[in-house]
């Protein structure tokens, strides 16, 4: 991922703002008091109310100002060996949508993927979804771009597409091309899955540092898809819960703990090759179109935050297995210290309890299995009985869900102390094809070779 243009901004806005926090263009994100250019250029964000301040590290450095992380306004290259939005340093905001294909015509589906790729390429650069989309169609046309991101910077937008197992059911002649690794997830102990939060023929993950930019991307792609696809379910995420680059500080989830300290990172290509990217030897030749791609597991995890908040600090830390303030593994001093599962607490019990989340989820207890987590916090109104419907929208990329997510979730579902406070009520898995070069479309090798 590179920062392609410092002046990347939606078409026709008067002045590039990325280079100067004082110029005229004020992004919505800054108005909302969240991470803005101020943080990106190292200025102190005012009044302590901004997201940037909230995410500063202990020594006062803005969380997202590290070298190697693009400025928050920058455009992320759409094309590349892998799709953007996987190892791209995790942006702050998410709009995720799962869709069903409603046409029976394969050609319509292919045409939509071409149209989508072109629109996604444009929007990622900070442009309107179509040339002159705001007003260029004249007074009698419905504008081709919905307009709400006009004048906003590219905001690190990435748009990532995936294909669900149901797409390969025979409607589009793809049954023989289904990768062996693309299977619906098995049922796990405690699952409370809802049909209208699960599954889907296709998915679109839009991530950006401005929520309006992410929503604009999904809205315009959905609109381009009317007649071909329809929305099955949708999820907003308001704050990232993972770092995917060593240059990013570790964010916190809705339990108030740092999440994803030991995540796979952009700077670890060997680890990514081993755990994230599908390799040639992984699949039969008919599914070779997935080489360079990755499988996405999505789980909507409702957190019973009201119950959690009444739990003592010690119990919270024992359940997670980390210290709440610094994020250090229990028994250690610093966030990135190695986890020592043999170490005893003064009372002779394991410093990291047997049911601690970090123990059960750690690769050393899962025969080396790792995943790239890329989840987001959410609150979706209320549950109707006086609580917030809050939680973690878990997203993770991996090379083979059956060998990575499934054993991990089996271990967690049976023992994890967190289970008392969470329930999984949505689930889906998607095959995200490899990246594109200019002129190619998403999934081209699946549909044309």
């Amino acid at each position: 991922m590179t920062e392609s243009s410092s002046a990347a901004e939606r078409s026709d806005a008067p002045t590039p703002v990325a280079a100067s926090p004082t110029s005229g263009g004020v992004s919505r994100r800054r108005l909302l008091g969240t991470t803005g250019t101020a943080a990106a250029v190292g200025l102190v964000a005012g009044a302590g109310v901004t997201y940037a301040a909230g995410r500063a590290t202990a020594d006062g450095t803005p969380a997202d100002a590290g070298p190697g992380v693009p400025s928050l306004d920058a455009a992320i290259d759409f094309h590349g060996e892998h799709q953007a939005g996987i190892v791209t340093p995790a942006q702050d905001r998410l709009h995720f949508v799962a869709l069903d294909v409603v046409t029976k015509d394969r050609a319509e589906l292919v045409a939509l993927l071409k149209t989508w790729t072109r629109a996604a390429e444009r929007m990622s650069a900070g442009a309107e979804a179509a040339p002159g989309g705001l007003v260029g169609g004249g007074p009698f046309a419905a504008p081709e771009d919905t307009g709400e991101a006009y004048g906003l910077p590219a905001s690190g937008l990435t748009i990532t597409v995936g294909f669900g197992p149901s797409l390969f059911d025979g409607r589009f002649g793809l049954a023989a091309r289904k990768p062996a690794a693309l299977e619906n997830l098995p049922a796990f102990v405690g699952d409370q899955l809802e049909a209208n939060r699960s599954g889907g023929d296709l998915c679109i993950q839009a991530c950006a540092n401005d929520p309006q930019v992410a929503v604009h991307a999904v809205r315009n792609l959905v609109r381009l898809g009317f007649g071909v696809v329809s929305v099955r379910w949708s999820q907003l995420g308001f704050g990232r819960t993972s770092s995917t680059s060593t240059a990013q500080a570790t964010p916190r989830n809705m339990f108030g703990f740092k999440d994803g300290t030991n995540n796979l990172k952009l700077e670890d290509p060997a680890g990514l090759a081993e755990h994230v990217w599908v390799a040639t030897k992984d699949e039969k030749p008919v599914a070779a179109w997935m080489v360079g791609g990755s499988y996405l597991v999505a789980r909507r995890i409702r957190m019973h935050i009201e119950i959690w908040d009444r739990t003592s600090l010690q119990e919270q830390e024992d359940i997670i297995g980390r210290d709440k303030k610094v994020g250090a593994p229990l028994g250690q001093a610093k966030e990135f210290d190695e986890l020592d599962f043999a170490k005893k607490a003064p009372d002779g019990t394991p410093a990291i309890p047997e049911i601690a989340h970090v123990r059960l989820a750690h690769s050393s207890n899962l025969r080396g299995v790792k995943i790239l987590r890329r989840g987001y916090n959410f609150t979706d109104g209320t549950d109707g009985v006086g609580h917030l419907d809050a939680g973690l929208f878990f997203l993770a990329f991996m090379r083979d869900p059956g060998k990575q997510f499934v054993p991990m979730q089996r271990a967690l579902a049976s023992k994890d102390g967190l289970n008392e406070y969470i329930e999984h009520n949505g689930s889906a898995v998607f095959a995200c094809p490899p990246g594109t070069v200019p002129g190619q479309f998403w999934g081209q090798s699946l549909f044309t070779t």
């Binding site: 442009a127 007074p139 009698f140």
Partner: protein, 384 residues
């Protein structure tokens, strides 16, 4: 009737100039910009990351050809704008090293703006472009005139049907024949639903005939079809039901007469076709319109039929200017008609209350697909 008053249609916006995209094509990468047959020579556009150089800034009306080469490092675009940044024509995705050709038909003189847009963002590198003289126009004007007369004939026919059906319905109500009146109710008002955008243009007549109990404005009585619907299905005929029925007939007669005098344009026909689908989306598919009788699918039928008939009159115009759109419209109308008809049993639509959530979703998905295409028609018929 619609839930909110419609904004008045814009008064005849001056057509900016007679313009049409003839086409843009990929062109083999030949460096020469040889003269095109049938017009003045092609204008070369040398686009880089920082410049947009045209070999000429004026042209004679007719087909103007631009040969654009991207000598820069960024993806480029080339636009021809009329006033207000309205795109006359554009060519996008000109990758570095590529040469593309754009042909624009301009039949009226005027000042235009050309722009290269390296990197796809920003206002682009602009300059003025002047067209002089005039050129012959296409044959679309006669087609538009024909569409208008066809649409007027359709409205007249539907108005007559509305009047005949309403007479029969009113007679049944006044005879106290509740069963017969209930049978006649959905079909009597069906023609109304086909020409609703026209009927709505006559001020108070629309709310008097078709007002719903919750959207009657202050000072107005709840009258018309929906008042009688409530009487027939919920409260039983009331002391003033006959008077309501009499007034309904008077109002329908008036609207039938007035409807025949409307003077539509291609734009109002196209916008009306879209408005009818909006009616379905906001009132019928939600079960709001016929809350007592639950005959909403009949209204759906009427709105859909009215939209399709309106666009049928415009078919020659749309086919000439955007044949792909006409093809998609036909497909989408076909799909929704088939789906809607699947809810008909022994000739009658099932009650709205019999629809499952999945039925309503399927209808909505199909309606969205159609609505998105129908929304493209107004600009197509008004593009010249």
């Amino acid at each position: 009737m619609s839930r909110t008053a419609r904004r008045a249609a814009p008064l005849a916006l001056a057509t900016i100039a007679a313009l049409a995209l003839v086409g843009c094509t990929d062109k083999p990468d030949t460096p020469s910009s040889s003269t095109k047959a049938g017009g003045s020579g092609a204008i070369t556009v040398n686009a880089t990351d920082t410049a947009c150089e045209l070999s000429a800034s004026t042209a004679q009306a007719g087909t103007v050809t631009f040969d654009i080469s991207n000598a820069g490092t960024k993806i480029n675009e080339f636009y021809v704008y009329a006033a207000g940044d309205r795109i006359v024509s554009e060519v996008e995705n000109i990758t570095p090293g590529l040469k593309r050709q754009l042909k624009v038909e301009i039949t009226e003189p005027g000042t235009f703006t050309t722009a290269c847009k390296p990197g796809m963002v920003g206002d682009g590198i602009r300059s003025d472009f002047t067209v002089t003289g005039t050129a012959a126009k296409g044959s679309a004007d006669q087609k538009v005139a024909k569409a208008i007369s066809d649409y007027r004939a359709f409205v007249a026919t539907e108005s007559d049907k509305l009047l005949a059906g309403t007479e029969e319905f009113v007679t049944a109500v006044k005879a106290g024949d509740v069963a017969k009146a209930k049978t006649l109710y959905p079909t009597a008002r069906l023609p109304w639903e086909t020409i609703e955008p026209v009927a709505e243009s006559f001020g108070d007549l629309d709310p008097r005939i078709d007002g719903r109990e919750d959207v009657i404005e202050d000072g107005m009585k709840f009258t018309g079809y929906h008042r009688l619907e409530k009487d027939l299905w919920v409260t039983g005929l009331q002391a003033d039901s006959n008077a309501i029925a009499d007034q309904l007939l008077v109002d329908v007669k008036e609207i039938a007469t007035k409807s025949k005098s409307v003077e539509p344009t291609a734009l109002t026909i196209a916008n009306g076709a879209k408005a009818l689908l909006d009616e379905v989306a906001t009132g019928k598919i939600t079960g709001e319109e016929e809350r007592y009788s639950h005959t909403d699918l009949w209204d759906f039928r009427g709105n859909l039929q009215g939209s399709q008939s309106a666009l049928e009159t415009l078919r020659p115009v749309v086919t000439e200017r955007n044949p792909a759109l006409q093809k998609t419209l036909d497909a989408r109308f076909g799909e929704l008609n088939k789906l809607l008809e699947s809810h008909r049993v022994n000739g009658s639509f099932v009650s709205y209350t019999k629809l499952t959530a999945a039925d309503i979703k399927a209808l909505t998905v199909s309606l969205d697909a159609l609505g998105e295409e129908v929304s493209k028609v107004p600009a197509v018929v008004e593009s010249k």
